[in-house]
């Protein structure tokens, strides 16, 4: 174990200096020579591809390496002047919050109030003092209404806020977060972001590893990591610019691309208003036209998969009541034509997953009817329906169990009794569609989370489905991972397959899906093209189910350009407006 010298004079906040972390058994270090200072009151974001070292940095910053997670560590980490890493009792100086809300609940407490007390009990805080601290934290973090609820019954966003509260309650002035919004819906993401800003304003030093630009754009500074090395640290506007990210394989988030395009000053606030104002004044001619997001076009699947029409899917007056008495779906009618791309959006608990589980017969309607190519699904077994409908679950770890990626992909075709020739061909096709050829003999669990998600997706693609259902395909994915999934969606659509995806990512939905179905409390409240669903005036309806239109649509609405759900649409509208205002 490395010894961490006490850095004399190390100030308040989090100070990481020349940090190198090398996990045992790995050839290359997870982090090399990374330095970052987070002063009290600052929110510093950490961006980078999956595997770039963000989680390792978070673990080290929280003093969990090497004391809990074994690794060789060089360099220094101090929180409020206290050296971390080897000493026990760091929990009262620095707290850490992880991506998965469920796994951070102690699972021994019946109420949030007691959950908040858990760490205080462990630190031996006197009971009277506990009560006072819990009340104060709850009031400050907006958790007061949750205090008497059962922690496992809370939504993901609420659980993350409780997780933040329960480490902040320990009194540390340094807060570290590892992708805290990765598994949350848009409303949950915003509540967590607001909480982080409040914490920073109160003088806490906050270090947050994130993919979400909702959080990154509001950071004071962003550290970009690439393959364990620091690419640089600067304001989000500079650190996440196309130029700065060029080498790291990341694309700038939409908000930065638009800010660059609009010529927004590097010191101007990154928000809708300023970007809209700047865009209104900027000339966005064809020459300044950037590509939309990334250059990845639809994955060409035509040569590898047969062109095949998806089957007509009809859902009529579907209602579903869980045995617990909860009405999860309350009268849904939906007709999906072969080859359509449909995104289903809505806040957690709005019935999206319950609805799609009827598409392959995992759930049987309480009343109503689901039919596939005219055949009533209630007469078809799930494993029979799998010949037509592929279903990819949100958590890849609920599916993967084979010792190699290739074997994992072979599981479905074998269940469907495909000939070995056809199986081999489909496995190759699926591997190349997901760009996993390089890891075909690897154990899926040696891959990172986003690659495991792609393996799960490929394992269903290898079954050659006419209809593909995806539940949250982009959660936990970095930018290039999202683009990869998008390219597969586009590619499948090009060869006639139907794709239905549940997603919290409005930008992903607007960009890759021709139809958006909005759900709220078990009902469909909007159904149409991205232009129609994200049109100006729809904000209130979307907000009622925890959603916001994508950034491009919001900016377009502010500028009175009509409905512009994608960056391309926004730029087109701007170009037209320009031409009208300034004819050549």
């Amino acid at each position: 174990m490395a010894s961490i010298p006490v850095e004399s004079g190390a100030g308040p906040g989090l100070a990481i200096s020349s940090l190198t972390v090398h996990y045992f058994g790995r050839d290359t270090p997870a982090l090399s020579d990374v330095s970052v200072d987070v002063r009290p009151g600052a929110l510093v974001g950490v961006a980078g591809r999956n595997g770039a070292g963000k989680s390792t940095l978070a673990l080290a910053a929280a003093g969990l390496i090497p004391r809990v997670v074994r690794a060789r560590l060089e360099g220094t980490v101090t929180a409020d002047g206290v050296p971390l890493g080897t000493s026990e009792g760091v929990a009262s100086h620095v707290g850490i919050v992880f991506p998965n809300p469920h796994n951070q609940i102690s699972a021994t407490k019946a109420t949030v109030r007691e959950e908040l007390a858990f760490g205080l009990e462990n630190l031996g805080v006197a009971r009277a003092d506990m009560e006072r601290r819990i009340e104060a934290i709850a009031a400050r973090l907006g958790l007061s209404e949750l205090l008497d609820r059962y922690p496992f019954a809370l939504s993901g966003g609420e659980q993350q806020r409780v997780a933040i509260g329960s480490v902040v309650a320990l009194g540390g002035r340094v807060l570290v977060l590892d992708e805290p919004t990765g598994q949350l819906d848009p409303a949950g993401t915003e509540t967590v972001r607001d909480l982080l800003l409040t914490q920073a304003e109160d003088g806490t030093a906050v270090l947050c590893a994130e993919h979400s630009d909702v959080v990154l754009a509001t950071a004071d500074r962003v550290l970009v990591l690439d393959a364990g090395r620091s690419v640089g640290i600067a304001t989000p506007r500079v650190a996440l610019s196309g130029q700065a990210l060029a080498a790291s394989g990341l694309e700038p988030p939409t908000i930065i691309r638009l800010a660059e395009l609009a010529g927004l000053g590097v010191d101007d606030p990154l928000d809708d208003e300023h970007i809209a104002d700047a865009l209104a004044g900027a000339a966005v001619g064809p020459d300044r036209r950037p590509t939309d997001g990334d250059d990845r076009s639809a994955t060409d699947l035509g040569g590898r998969f047969a062109v095949r029409d998806g089957a007509l899917l009809e859902i009529a007056d579907l209602r579903y009541r869980y045995p617990t008495g909860i009405d999860a779906v309350r009268g849904v009618d939906l007709r999906v034509e072969p080859g359509e791309r449909v995104a289903i959006v809505g806040q957690n608990g709005s019935g999206k997953t319950t609805l799609v589980k009827h598409i392959n017969g995992l759930l049987r309607p309480s009343t109503g009817r689901v039919s596939l190519a005219g055949r009533d699904l209630s007469t078809i077994k799930v494993h029979e329906a799998a010949r037509t409908i592929g279903f990819v679950f949100q958590n890849p770890d609920d599916q993967l169990f084979n010792r190699s990626v290739e074997r994992e992909l072979a599981f479905g075709p074998r269940n469907l009794a495909f000939s070995s020739e056809r199986s081999a061909q489909l496995i190759d096709a699926a591997l190349s569609a997901a760009q996993l050829q390089g890891v075909r003999s690897d154990n899926p669990y040696d891959l990172g989370y986003s690659d495991r998600k792609l393996v799960a997706l490929a394992s269903v693609l290898a079954m050659d489905p006419a209809i593909l259902v995806l539940d949250e395909p982009t959660t936990g994915q970095d930018g290039p991972g999202v683009a990869q999934v998008g390219a597969i969606v586009d590619g499948l659509s090009a060869i006639g397959r139907t794709v239905i995806a549940i997603t919290h990512d409005m930008e992903f939905a607007a960009r890759h899906f021709g139809r958006i179905v909005v759900m709220r409390q078990g009902e469909v409240v909007a159904d149409g093209t991205p232009e129609a669903v994200f049109a100006p005036g729809q904000e209130e309806l979307l907000a009622s189910t925890g959603l916001r239109p994508p950034l491009a649509a919001r900016i377009g609405a502010k500028l009175g350009l009509g409905s512009t759900p994608t960056v391309d649409a926004l730029l087109d509208a701007l170009a037209v407006a320009d031409a009208v205002v300034k004819p050549d």
Binding site: E88, F98, N103, N122, A386, D397, Q399, F401
Partner: protein, 262 residues
């Protein structure tokens, strides 16, 4: 029943207000004693156990749970012994080739009474005692907080494990795995179910242990407790009574061996 609290039923009756430690002590005695005392005493204990559940204001849910938990077991004990007791001659009732015998009932009924009284006492205990109170009370009496943590989190995590198992099964069925029908089909589903369940649980455990570490779990500080589980004079007296009752058991055994208690 409240989420996360196992079988606990909200209430404020006499039994609810007792400290979990004397209750646990008496529960253990109540489960052991019927097997120590002569068979006839088992009926007395059964009546006491059911009265206890009713006095504890557990009412209908208690009786329903008792019925569900004991009906099948009791019926099979009585049927098997009543009809098939080896060497029994005194036939009370003949149903076709089957004869209900007095010897069989004399043997079977006390066994059934012992089992049902043990179930009744256990139910009265778990329905009137919050698991977190039990653990806090045990820690207060010197049990290890780590042990308490493991037991408690297991109680809260079981429903989530079942959820996970059903999600995994859904995922694999969606990949064409047949799980219905013949035994062979069901057997084939075991690896695709257990694989993700075990690996997923290990991933969860790792994440959870890091999160616990961040909340100072296992720190060397003397732990304090947020939940106060009061122990009153009645509870102390009950503990003393429990001790005496346990001390009496060897005497009962000696008495039975000596032929003084029948």
């Amino acid at each position: 029943m409240r989420e996360g609290l196992g079988f606990y039923v909200d209430g404020s009756g006499w039994l609810h207000r007792r400290n979990p430690v004397p209750k646990l002590l008496l529960l253990i005695w109540g489960v052991v004693a019927p097997f120590v005392f002569p068979p006839a005493y088992a009926f007395g204990l059964l009546v006491l156990a059911i009265l206890l559940g009713l006095l504890a204001e557990l009412g209908r849910p208690f009786l329903r749970a008792l019925f569900i938990a004991s009906a099948l077991l009791t019926t099979s004990i009585i049927v098997i012994n009543g009809f098939f007791f080896p060497g029994a001659r005194d036939v009370l009732l003949a149903v076709g080739p089957f004869h209900l015998t007095r010897e069989g009932l004399e043997f079977g009924l006390p066994i059934a009474a012992r089992v049902v009284s043990a179930i009744a006492l256990t139910l009265a205990f778990v329905m009137s005692t919050r698991p977190d109170d039990l653990m806090e009370a045990l820690i207060d009496r010197g049990a290890s907080p780590r042990f308490a943590f493991v037991v408690l989190s297991a109680i809260q995590t079981i429903p989530r494990m079942l959820d996970k198992a059903s999600r995994i099964l859904d995922a694999q069925r969606s990949r064409g795995l047949a799980t219905e029908g013949r035994f062979a089909a069901r057997a084939r589903a075991i690896v695709p179910l257990l694989g993700p369940l075990v690996i997923g649980s290990l991933i969860d455990v790792r994440e959870r242990s890091l999160a616990l570490e961040a909340r100072a779990f296992g720190s060397s500080h003397q732990r304090t407790a947020y939940r106060e589980v009061p122990i009153g004079d009645v509870d102390r007296r009950l503990i003393a009574i429990g001790m005496l009752l346990f001390a009496a058991l060897p005497l009962v055994i000696a008495g039975r061996l000596a032929g003084l208690i029948r």
